[in-house]
Amino acid sequence: MTTTLPCNQVTIGWNGIRLAVPAHWETIVSGPSHLIFEDDFNPVFQIRWKKIGPLSPQKWQEKCDLWWQQLGVAASTVKLPSELNKLTDKFSHTRYYQGKQAMESGGICYCDHCETLFFFQQLSADSNLWKMTEDLLCQLSCHGATDTLWQIQDFSLTTPGQYSLTGYTFKTGLTRLSFSAANYDLHICRLAQASNRLSTQSLEDIHLGLAGTKDLQLDENKNKTLSCGTRAPSLTRQLLLRLRREKPFIESRLWLLEDSDRLLACIAYSKRPIPTNDLNLCYETFKIV
């Protein structure tokens, strides 16, 4: 699904949802299903979401109050502000809370289609935020896509729908996302300052370091910008690795993006041989945007 966004907006994709946010906002991942948006290092908006299954309309209000209390924000329920009226067209249930301070206001929406609950909170008293909140939530996409888009900061990746996020890190110079699929674990890495790293280490060394093993069969291209690695051990070696609680089969790829000075890596570990085609979607879509 592709939509054309105004030039001052960017698409953010994370764990099943897609949002269009102002380009000058910085997105902070605070949890697997929690994003905080900042404008000049000041938090302005946050959103959390949770798949909860079917919701009984009778219990909606009391459940909402309970969920809102769990957020630890003192606020009382009020009528949905007119600026956010469009939300009722998109979501089957909406409820708005207003705190004593402008920053304590927010709401809860429920999407009937994908049975997901959304909590949003406006963290700034800026009057423009009403319009942005409405636009952001109305353009929010939470269902209908077969693949999951992961687009945050400067990278973009699409994974098949059945992949589930098991971990992530946004350390200096190293971003890692870990996924669990049916047969294997997949780790996606983005390394910054590639030229600095390659001045002290070879592509091969970085590849082996990321994979965490030395017995990887590597194949580099002539330009030394792509390194493909595989490990398909013999039966006895498989037994030995399984005794060490290691997954015997590895399929990995590390490539250099000279224009953006980044190294990107996809590493999959499995107990069974990994079909090469399985990772093609990740190889093709993992890029710097």
Binding site: E26, I28, F41, P43, F170, K171, T172, A192, Q193
Partner: protein, 134 residues
């Protein structure tokens, strides 16, 4: 009186715990301590030389050996290129937020990564007593 009472440390007076938000901490201005010396090397990297804080017990021992003048023990800290850039930006008028914004495009890191890197570095400089935060 129990002997243990003599050696028991007095409980410290409760201090008012001040919590500072992230936004406030990013608006803080770091400043170099004027007593420390630093110079740039030929390769552009900075070496900071700062006095080593010694415990009074060790100072009293040192005094016995050096009757004329006590030597001032110093420690040297060599910064890498990123550390040097941050050190040069610490001028007593630039806030942490601006330093991060300067460092991010220079290193090719995202703002979030640069924030983590700069704040960790400034914390380390503060721990060694090389900067103060205003």
């Amino acid at each position: 009186m129990k002997l243990s009472r003599l050696f028991k440390k007095k409980p410290a007076a409760p201090q008012a715990k001040t919590t500072i938000t992230r936004t406030e901490s990013l608006a803080c201005i770091p400043e170099k301590i004027c007593t420390i010396s630093w110079h740039k090397q030929e390769n552009g990297e900075v070496i900071i030389e700062y006095p080593l804080p010694l415990k009074p017990f060790f100072i009293s021992i040192a005094r016995r050996f050096y009757k004329t003048e006590e030597p001032t023990l110093t420690k040297k800290l060599q910064l890498d290129s990123v550390g040097t850039k941050v050190w040069l930006l610490v001028d007593g008028s630039t806030d942490v937020k601006t330093i991060i914004k300067e460092i991010a495009p220079w290193t090719g890191l995202s703002l979030q990564e640069a924030e983590l890197s700069v704040t960790t570095f400034l914390r380390e400089l503060g721990r060694r007593g090389l900067i103060i935060i205003k």
